[in-house]
Protein backbone atom coordinates (compact mmCIF):
# COMPACT_ATOMS: atom_id res chain seq x y z
CA UNK A 1 0.00 0.00 0.00
CA UNK A 2 3.00 2.29 0.46
CA UNK A 3 3.32 2.87 -3.27
CA UNK A 4 -0.36 3.83 -3.59
CA UNK A 5 0.00 6.26 -0.71
CA UNK A 6 3.18 7.75 -2.20
CA UNK A 7 1.50 8.22 -5.62
CA UNK A 8 -1.50 9.90 -3.95
CA UNK A 9 0.73 12.27 -1.97
CA UNK A 10 2.88 13.17 -5.00
CA UNK A 11 -0.18 13.70 -7.22
CA UNK A 12 -1.73 16.08 -4.69
CA UNK A 13 1.58 17.88 -4.10
CA UNK A 14 2.80 18.46 -7.65
CA UNK A 15 -0.71 18.69 -9.19
CA UNK A 16 -0.63 19.16 -12.99
CA UNK A 17 2.89 18.03 -13.81
CA UNK A 18 2.94 15.17 -16.27
CA UNK A 19 2.76 12.25 -15.50
CA UNK A 20 1.30 13.41 -12.20
CA UNK A 21 -2.04 15.09 -11.82
CA UNK A 22 -4.62 15.76 -9.15
CA UNK A 23 -7.23 15.02 -11.85
CA UNK A 24 -9.35 18.16 -11.40
CA UNK A 25 -11.75 17.42 -14.28
CA UNK A 26 -15.41 17.58 -13.30
CA UNK A 27 -14.52 18.25 -9.66
CA UNK A 28 -17.22 20.91 -9.37
CA UNK A 29 -20.49 21.71 -11.09
CA UNK A 30 -22.00 25.12 -11.55
CA UNK A 31 -25.13 26.65 -13.04
CA UNK A 32 -22.93 28.11 -15.78
CA UNK A 33 -20.66 26.53 -18.35
CA UNK A 34 -19.42 27.34 -21.82
CA UNK A 35 -17.75 25.91 -24.86
CA UNK A 36 -15.99 27.41 -27.84
CA UNK A 37 -15.99 26.63 -31.53
CA UNK A 38 -14.21 27.91 -34.60
CA UNK A 39 -15.49 29.23 -37.90
CA UNK A 40 -14.17 30.62 -41.14
CA UNK A 41 -14.48 34.32 -41.92
CA UNK A 42 -18.09 33.84 -43.02
CA UNK A 43 -19.08 32.36 -39.68
CA UNK A 44 -19.33 28.77 -41.02
CA UNK A 45 -18.13 26.25 -38.40
CA UNK A 46 -14.94 24.40 -39.33
CA UNK A 47 -13.89 20.89 -38.17
CA UNK A 48 -10.95 22.11 -36.13
CA UNK A 49 -9.58 18.70 -35.16
CA UNK A 50 -9.76 17.42 -38.73
CA UNK A 51 -7.88 20.48 -39.95
CA UNK A 52 -5.31 20.94 -37.19
CA UNK A 53 -5.28 17.72 -35.08
CA UNK A 54 -6.11 19.86 -32.02
CA UNK A 55 -9.32 19.06 -30.17
CA UNK A 56 -11.82 21.76 -29.23
CA UNK A 57 -11.58 20.63 -25.59
CA UNK A 58 -7.81 21.26 -25.50
CA UNK A 59 -8.17 24.62 -27.23
CA UNK A 60 -10.86 25.56 -24.73
CA UNK A 61 -8.46 24.83 -21.86
CA UNK A 62 -5.86 27.15 -23.41
CA UNK A 63 -8.52 29.84 -23.88
CA UNK A 64 -9.75 29.29 -20.34
CA UNK A 65 -6.27 29.67 -18.89
CA UNK A 66 -5.79 32.98 -20.73
CA UNK A 67 -9.20 34.27 -19.64
CA UNK A 68 -8.34 33.53 -16.02
CA UNK A 69 -5.01 35.32 -16.47
CA UNK A 70 -6.76 38.36 -17.97
CA UNK A 71 -9.27 38.35 -15.13
CA UNK A 72 -6.51 38.35 -12.53
CA UNK A 73 -4.73 41.20 -14.35
CA UNK A 74 -7.93 43.24 -14.49
CA UNK A 75 -8.64 42.57 -10.83
CA UNK A 76 -5.09 43.62 -9.97
CA UNK A 77 -5.83 46.92 -11.73
CA UNK A 78 -8.81 47.39 -9.45
CA UNK A 79 -11.61 46.28 -11.79
CA UNK A 80 -14.36 44.35 -10.07
CA UNK A 81 -15.21 41.13 -11.89
CA UNK A 82 -17.39 38.84 -9.81
CA UNK A 83 -16.78 35.78 -11.94
CA UNK A 84 -15.65 34.56 -15.28
CA UNK A 85 -19.18 34.68 -16.70
CA UNK A 86 -19.42 38.42 -16.08
CA UNK A 87 -16.46 39.29 -18.29
CA UNK A 88 -17.37 41.27 -21.38
CA UNK A 89 -16.65 40.12 -24.92
CA UNK A 90 -14.03 42.85 -25.13
CA UNK A 91 -12.30 41.51 -22.02
CA UNK A 92 -12.30 38.01 -23.48
CA UNK A 93 -10.97 39.12 -26.85
CA UNK A 94 -7.20 38.84 -26.05
CA UNK A 95 -7.69 35.22 -24.97
CA UNK A 96 -9.58 34.52 -28.21
CA UNK A 97 -6.81 36.09 -30.29
CA UNK A 98 -4.19 34.14 -28.38
CA UNK A 99 -5.88 30.81 -29.01
CA UNK A 100 -6.21 31.59 -32.74
CA UNK A 101 -2.51 32.54 -32.89
CA UNK A 102 -1.68 29.38 -31.00
CA UNK A 103 -3.50 27.33 -33.63
CA UNK A 104 -1.59 29.02 -36.48
CA UNK A 105 1.74 28.48 -34.70
CA UNK A 106 1.16 24.91 -33.60
CA UNK A 107 -0.27 23.23 -36.66
CA UNK A 108 1.89 20.98 -38.80
CA UNK A 109 3.14 22.53 -42.03
CA UNK A 110 1.45 19.80 -44.07
CA UNK A 111 -1.92 20.78 -42.57
CA UNK A 112 -1.46 24.51 -43.06
CA UNK A 113 -2.69 24.83 -46.70
CA UNK A 114 -6.14 23.44 -45.80
CA UNK A 115 -6.29 25.63 -42.71
CA UNK A 116 -5.16 28.73 -44.60
CA UNK A 117 -8.10 28.33 -46.98
CA UNK A 118 -10.39 28.98 -44.02
CA UNK A 119 -8.51 32.02 -42.70
CA UNK A 120 -9.13 34.42 -41.13
CA UNK A 121 -10.48 32.14 -38.42
CA UNK A 122 -12.97 33.20 -35.81
CA UNK A 123 -13.58 31.87 -32.33
CA UNK A 124 -17.04 31.88 -30.78
CA UNK A 125 -17.88 31.31 -27.14
CA UNK A 126 -21.24 29.79 -26.29
CA UNK A 127 -22.43 30.49 -22.74
CA UNK A 128 -24.63 27.80 -21.23
CA UNK A 129 -27.17 28.40 -18.46
CA UNK A 130 -30.10 26.50 -17.07
CA UNK A 131 -33.28 28.53 -17.11
CA UNK A 132 -36.79 27.24 -16.36
CA UNK A 133 -35.62 23.66 -16.61
CA UNK A 134 -34.02 24.17 -20.02
CA UNK A 135 -30.54 24.86 -21.27
CA UNK A 136 -30.06 28.31 -22.74
CA UNK A 137 -27.16 28.84 -25.14
CA UNK A 138 -25.84 32.30 -25.93
CA UNK A 139 -23.18 32.45 -28.65
CA UNK A 140 -20.78 35.40 -28.89
CA UNK A 141 -18.10 36.18 -31.42
CA UNK A 142 -14.94 36.64 -29.35
CA UNK A 143 -12.15 37.24 -31.84
CA UNK A 144 -11.01 37.00 -35.42
CA UNK A 145 -7.35 36.69 -36.37
CA UNK A 146 -5.91 37.02 -39.88
Amino acid sequence: MKTALAVIIVCFSVRENFPFSHFPMYSSFSDYSYYIYFTDSKGEPIPIETLTSHKTSSLKKIYDKEIKKTRKELQAKGEKIEGFRFMTTEQRKPAGELVLDWIYNNTKETALPALNEKRPLRVYQVDLFTKDGEITSIPNLIAEAP
Binding site: F18, S21, S33, P45, L59, I62
Partner: protein, 297 residues
Amino acid sequence: MSFLKKILGLFQKPNFAPYEVIFMRVLFALVAAIAIPGNLPYSGQPYPSGLAHFFDFTWMANDSSLKVLELTYWGALGAFAIGFFPALSGTLAAFILNATGALMNSQGAAKHHLQIIGLILTVFAIHYIIQAIRNPRKMLFPGHEPGSNGIYYAQQTVAAAYLVTGFYKLARSGLEWISDAKYFPLQLEKSTKMDYYNTLTDEAVVGIEQTIGNFLLEYPNWSRLLIGSGLLVEIGAIFLLAGRKWGGIYAILLIVFHLTISEVMHLTFTYNILALLIFFVVPLLRRSPAHRRALSS
Protein backbone atom coordinates in the same frame (compact mmCIF):
# COMPACT_ATOMS: atom_id res chain seq x y z
CA MET B 1 -15.04 -7.21 14.00
CA SER B 2 -14.34 -10.52 12.30
CA PHE B 3 -16.01 -9.14 9.14
CA LEU B 4 -13.63 -6.16 9.21
CA LYS B 5 -10.71 -8.52 9.76
CA LYS B 6 -11.89 -10.57 6.82
CA ILE B 7 -12.06 -7.47 4.60
CA LEU B 8 -8.63 -6.24 5.72
CA GLY B 9 -7.29 -9.73 5.15
CA LEU B 10 -8.08 -9.39 1.45
CA PHE B 11 -5.50 -6.63 1.06
CA GLN B 12 -2.45 -8.84 0.70
CA LYS B 13 0.42 -8.56 -1.73
CA PRO B 14 -0.50 -10.92 -4.58
CA ASN B 15 1.71 -13.74 -5.73
CA PHE B 16 2.21 -13.96 -9.48
CA ALA B 17 3.68 -16.85 -11.41
CA PRO B 18 6.64 -15.88 -13.65
CA TYR B 19 4.61 -16.59 -16.81
CA GLU B 20 1.91 -14.19 -15.59
CA VAL B 21 4.47 -11.49 -14.89
CA ILE B 22 6.00 -11.88 -18.36
CA PHE B 23 2.55 -11.89 -19.99
CA MET B 24 1.44 -8.73 -18.16
CA ARG B 25 4.73 -6.97 -18.82
CA VAL B 26 4.67 -7.78 -22.53
CA LEU B 27 1.04 -6.62 -22.78
CA PHE B 28 1.85 -3.42 -20.93
CA ALA B 29 4.89 -2.77 -23.13
CA LEU B 30 2.68 -3.18 -26.22
CA VAL B 31 0.15 -0.70 -24.86
CA ALA B 32 2.89 1.74 -23.84
CA ALA B 33 4.39 1.37 -27.32
CA ILE B 34 1.26 2.71 -29.00
CA ALA B 35 0.83 5.43 -26.39
CA ILE B 36 3.67 7.61 -27.65
CA PRO B 37 2.16 10.54 -29.60
CA GLY B 38 2.98 10.33 -33.31
CA ASN B 39 2.61 14.05 -33.80
CA LEU B 40 3.79 16.86 -31.53
CA PRO B 41 3.45 20.07 -33.55
CA TYR B 42 4.22 22.39 -30.65
CA SER B 43 6.46 25.40 -31.15
CA GLY B 44 6.77 26.38 -27.48
CA GLN B 45 6.25 25.41 -23.85
CA PRO B 46 4.36 28.46 -22.55
CA TYR B 47 3.13 26.64 -19.42
CA PRO B 48 5.83 24.08 -18.56
CA SER B 49 4.62 20.80 -17.11
CA GLY B 50 6.69 17.98 -15.55
CA LEU B 51 10.06 17.50 -17.24
CA ALA B 52 9.45 20.58 -19.40
CA HIS B 53 10.40 22.64 -16.33
CA PHE B 54 13.97 21.41 -16.86
CA PHE B 55 14.26 20.70 -20.61
CA ASP B 56 13.12 22.26 -23.85
CA PHE B 57 11.36 19.52 -25.82
CA THR B 58 10.16 21.61 -28.76
CA TRP B 59 12.66 19.79 -31.01
CA MET B 60 10.16 16.92 -30.97
CA ALA B 61 8.00 18.94 -33.34
CA ASN B 62 10.43 17.82 -36.03
CA ASP B 63 9.13 14.58 -37.58
CA SER B 64 12.52 12.91 -38.06
CA SER B 65 13.59 13.70 -34.48
CA LEU B 66 10.35 12.26 -33.20
CA LYS B 67 10.88 9.13 -35.32
CA VAL B 68 14.34 8.54 -33.77
CA LEU B 69 12.84 9.07 -30.33
CA GLU B 70 10.05 6.64 -31.12
CA LEU B 71 12.50 3.93 -32.22
CA THR B 72 14.58 4.41 -29.06
CA TYR B 73 11.41 4.21 -26.98
CA TRP B 74 10.25 1.00 -28.66
CA GLY B 75 13.73 -0.52 -28.20
CA ALA B 76 13.68 0.36 -24.50
CA LEU B 77 10.19 -1.08 -24.10
CA GLY B 78 11.24 -4.29 -25.88
CA ALA B 79 14.15 -4.74 -23.46
CA PHE B 80 11.85 -3.92 -20.55
CA ALA B 81 9.25 -6.46 -21.70
CA ILE B 82 11.76 -9.32 -21.69
CA GLY B 83 13.15 -8.12 -18.37
CA PHE B 84 16.57 -7.04 -19.64
CA PHE B 85 18.22 -4.37 -17.48
CA PRO B 86 14.83 -2.93 -16.45
CA ALA B 87 16.45 -0.25 -14.29
CA LEU B 88 17.83 1.28 -17.47
CA SER B 89 15.29 0.22 -20.10
CA GLY B 90 12.32 1.14 -17.87
CA THR B 91 13.85 4.49 -16.95
CA LEU B 92 14.59 5.32 -20.58
CA ALA B 93 11.05 4.40 -21.66
CA ALA B 94 9.55 6.38 -18.75
CA PHE B 95 11.72 9.40 -19.55
CA ILE B 96 10.78 9.43 -23.24
CA LEU B 97 7.03 9.01 -22.69
CA ASN B 98 7.05 11.56 -19.88
CA ALA B 99 8.98 13.99 -22.09
CA THR B 100 6.41 13.75 -24.90
CA GLY B 101 3.58 14.06 -22.36
CA ALA B 102 5.29 17.05 -20.75
CA LEU B 103 5.58 18.86 -24.09
CA MET B 104 1.95 18.10 -24.89
CA ASN B 105 0.79 19.32 -21.49
CA SER B 106 2.93 22.48 -21.55
CA GLN B 107 0.54 24.33 -23.84
CA GLY B 108 -1.84 25.49 -21.12
CA ALA B 109 -4.15 22.52 -21.64
CA ALA B 110 -3.60 19.40 -19.54
CA LYS B 111 -4.46 16.19 -21.35
CA HIS B 112 -4.93 13.19 -19.12
CA HIS B 113 -5.28 10.25 -21.49
CA LEU B 114 -1.57 9.23 -21.28
CA GLN B 115 -1.15 9.97 -17.61
CA ILE B 116 -1.82 6.43 -16.41
CA ILE B 117 0.82 4.92 -18.72
CA GLY B 118 3.37 7.60 -17.75
CA LEU B 119 2.67 7.01 -14.06
CA ILE B 120 3.01 3.23 -14.29
CA LEU B 121 6.24 3.49 -16.30
CA THR B 122 7.62 5.95 -13.72
CA VAL B 123 6.75 3.67 -10.81
CA PHE B 124 8.25 0.65 -12.63
CA ALA B 125 11.43 2.64 -13.29
CA ILE B 126 11.76 3.71 -9.64
CA HIS B 127 11.11 0.14 -8.49
CA TYR B 128 13.81 -1.33 -10.72
CA ILE B 129 16.33 1.37 -9.84
CA ILE B 130 15.84 0.53 -6.15
CA GLN B 131 16.18 -3.18 -6.99
CA ALA B 132 19.39 -2.54 -8.91
CA ILE B 133 20.89 -0.56 -6.01
CA ARG B 134 19.92 -3.27 -3.52
CA ASN B 135 21.13 -6.14 -5.66
CA PRO B 136 23.55 -4.85 -8.30
CA ARG B 137 24.65 -8.38 -9.30
CA LYS B 138 21.14 -9.11 -10.62
CA MET B 139 20.83 -5.74 -12.31
CA LEU B 140 20.77 -7.12 -15.87
CA PHE B 141 18.14 -9.82 -15.30
CA PRO B 142 16.42 -9.32 -11.94
CA GLY B 143 13.94 -12.13 -12.72
CA HIS B 144 10.25 -12.39 -12.09
CA GLU B 145 10.04 -13.66 -8.52
CA PRO B 146 7.41 -12.29 -6.17
CA GLY B 147 8.70 -9.08 -4.67
CA SER B 148 10.94 -8.27 -7.59
CA ASN B 149 8.52 -8.09 -10.51
CA GLY B 150 6.91 -4.69 -9.91
CA ILE B 151 3.39 -5.77 -10.90
CA TYR B 152 1.99 -5.05 -7.43
CA TYR B 153 3.41 -1.53 -7.66
CA ALA B 154 1.75 -1.01 -11.03
CA GLN B 155 -1.53 -2.17 -9.49
CA GLN B 156 -1.15 0.29 -6.63
CA THR B 157 -0.44 3.09 -9.08
CA VAL B 158 -3.65 2.43 -10.99
CA ALA B 159 -5.69 2.30 -7.76
CA ALA B 160 -4.02 5.50 -6.52
CA ALA B 161 -4.95 7.39 -9.71
CA TYR B 162 -8.65 6.65 -9.11
CA LEU B 163 -8.42 7.49 -5.43
CA VAL B 164 -6.81 10.86 -6.20
CA THR B 165 -9.66 11.63 -8.61
CA GLY B 166 -12.28 10.84 -5.98
CA PHE B 167 -10.48 12.52 -3.08
CA TYR B 168 -9.92 15.71 -5.08
CA LYS B 169 -13.64 16.02 -5.82
CA LEU B 170 -14.40 15.69 -2.11
CA ALA B 171 -11.61 18.10 -1.16
CA ARG B 172 -12.72 20.75 -3.65
CA SER B 173 -16.48 20.58 -3.47
CA GLY B 174 -17.30 18.27 -0.56
CA LEU B 175 -20.77 16.84 -0.65
CA GLU B 176 -21.92 19.90 -2.64
CA TRP B 177 -20.46 18.01 -5.54
CA ILE B 178 -23.41 15.65 -5.36
CA SER B 179 -26.06 18.31 -4.73
CA ASP B 180 -24.66 20.46 -7.58
CA ALA B 181 -24.81 17.43 -9.85
CA LYS B 182 -28.18 18.79 -11.01
CA TYR B 183 -26.06 21.02 -13.31
CA PHE B 184 -24.46 17.99 -14.92
CA PRO B 185 -26.63 18.38 -18.08
CA LEU B 186 -24.65 21.59 -18.81
CA GLN B 187 -21.45 19.56 -18.86
CA LEU B 188 -23.13 17.03 -21.09
CA GLU B 189 -24.19 19.74 -23.49
CA LYS B 190 -20.69 21.25 -23.45
CA SER B 191 -18.84 17.98 -24.09
CA THR B 192 -21.26 16.88 -26.81
CA LYS B 193 -21.05 20.17 -28.66
CA MET B 194 -17.28 20.36 -28.42
CA ASP B 195 -17.02 16.83 -29.73
CA TYR B 196 -19.29 17.77 -32.61
CA TYR B 197 -17.20 20.83 -33.50
CA ASN B 198 -14.05 18.68 -33.66
CA THR B 199 -15.11 17.01 -36.88
CA LEU B 200 -18.65 18.29 -37.65
CA THR B 201 -19.68 14.67 -38.26
CA ASP B 202 -21.45 13.57 -35.11
CA GLU B 203 -24.73 15.36 -35.66
CA ALA B 204 -26.81 12.18 -35.33
CA VAL B 205 -25.25 11.35 -31.97
CA VAL B 206 -25.77 14.86 -30.66
CA GLY B 207 -29.52 14.19 -30.59
CA ILE B 208 -29.20 11.23 -28.17
CA GLU B 209 -27.16 13.24 -25.68
CA GLN B 210 -29.71 16.03 -25.82
CA THR B 211 -32.44 13.54 -24.94
CA ILE B 212 -30.41 12.28 -21.96
CA GLY B 213 -29.60 15.89 -20.98
CA ASN B 214 -33.27 16.88 -21.10
CA PHE B 215 -34.23 13.86 -19.00
CA LEU B 216 -31.62 14.73 -16.37
CA LEU B 217 -32.76 18.35 -16.36
CA GLU B 218 -36.29 17.24 -15.70
CA TYR B 219 -35.28 14.71 -13.04
CA PRO B 220 -32.19 16.21 -11.31
CA ASN B 221 -32.12 13.44 -8.71
CA TRP B 222 -31.08 11.06 -11.46
CA SER B 223 -28.07 13.30 -12.09
CA ARG B 224 -27.24 13.17 -8.38
CA LEU B 225 -27.61 9.40 -8.33
CA LEU B 226 -25.40 8.94 -11.40
CA ILE B 227 -22.74 11.39 -10.27
CA GLY B 228 -22.84 10.12 -6.66
CA SER B 229 -22.34 6.54 -7.87
CA GLY B 230 -19.41 7.70 -9.97
CA LEU B 231 -17.74 9.21 -6.89
CA LEU B 232 -18.31 6.00 -4.92
CA VAL B 233 -16.81 3.95 -7.73
CA GLU B 234 -13.68 6.14 -7.72
CA ILE B 235 -13.24 6.11 -3.95
CA GLY B 236 -13.97 2.40 -3.82
CA ALA B 237 -11.01 1.83 -6.15
CA ILE B 238 -9.05 0.75 -3.08
CA PHE B 239 -10.78 -2.60 -3.68
CA LEU B 240 -8.63 -3.02 -6.76
CA LEU B 241 -6.02 -4.10 -4.23
CA ALA B 242 -8.28 -6.58 -2.43
CA GLY B 243 -6.75 -9.65 -4.03
CA ARG B 244 -7.08 -11.18 -7.47
CA LYS B 245 -10.78 -11.98 -7.38
CA TRP B 246 -12.15 -8.75 -5.93
CA GLY B 247 -9.54 -6.64 -7.70
CA GLY B 248 -10.53 -8.19 -11.03
CA ILE B 249 -14.24 -7.76 -10.37
CA TYR B 250 -13.72 -4.15 -9.33
CA ALA B 251 -11.65 -3.52 -12.45
CA ILE B 252 -14.54 -4.79 -14.58
CA LEU B 253 -16.85 -2.38 -12.72
CA LEU B 254 -14.46 0.49 -13.49
CA ILE B 255 -14.29 -0.53 -17.15
CA VAL B 256 -18.09 -0.49 -17.36
CA PHE B 257 -18.02 2.93 -15.64
CA HIS B 258 -15.54 4.25 -18.24
CA LEU B 259 -17.47 2.81 -21.17
CA THR B 260 -20.68 4.44 -19.90
CA ILE B 261 -19.00 7.85 -19.61
CA SER B 262 -17.44 7.40 -23.04
CA GLU B 263 -20.82 6.68 -24.55
CA VAL B 264 -22.56 9.61 -22.90
CA MET B 265 -19.86 12.27 -22.81
CA HIS B 266 -17.62 11.34 -25.74
CA LEU B 267 -14.56 11.14 -23.51
CA THR B 268 -12.05 8.36 -24.12
CA PHE B 269 -10.37 6.23 -21.45
CA THR B 270 -8.51 3.81 -23.71
CA TYR B 271 -5.34 3.57 -21.63
CA ASN B 272 -7.14 3.39 -18.30
CA ILE B 273 -9.25 0.52 -19.61
CA LEU B 274 -6.20 -1.28 -21.01
CA ALA B 275 -4.27 -0.83 -17.74
CA LEU B 276 -7.24 -2.26 -15.80
CA LEU B 277 -7.47 -5.21 -18.19
CA ILE B 278 -3.75 -5.98 -18.01
CA PHE B 279 -3.10 -5.62 -14.30
CA PHE B 280 -6.43 -6.74 -12.83
CA VAL B 281 -8.52 -8.71 -15.32
CA VAL B 282 -5.64 -10.83 -16.67
CA PRO B 283 -4.85 -12.09 -13.13
CA LEU B 284 -8.47 -13.27 -12.90
CA LEU B 285 -7.67 -15.88 -15.57
CA ARG B 286 -5.20 -17.73 -13.38
CA ARG B 287 -7.45 -20.37 -11.82
CA SER B 288 -6.15 -23.25 -13.90
CA PRO B 289 -4.33 -26.24 -12.32
CA ALA B 290 -1.30 -25.40 -14.51
CA HIS B 291 -1.21 -21.97 -12.93
CA ARG B 292 -1.39 -23.36 -9.40
CA ARG B 293 1.47 -25.74 -10.20
CA ALA B 294 3.51 -22.84 -11.60
CA LEU B 295 2.83 -20.77 -8.49
CA SER B 296 3.71 -23.53 -6.05
CA SER B 297 6.94 -24.31 -7.90
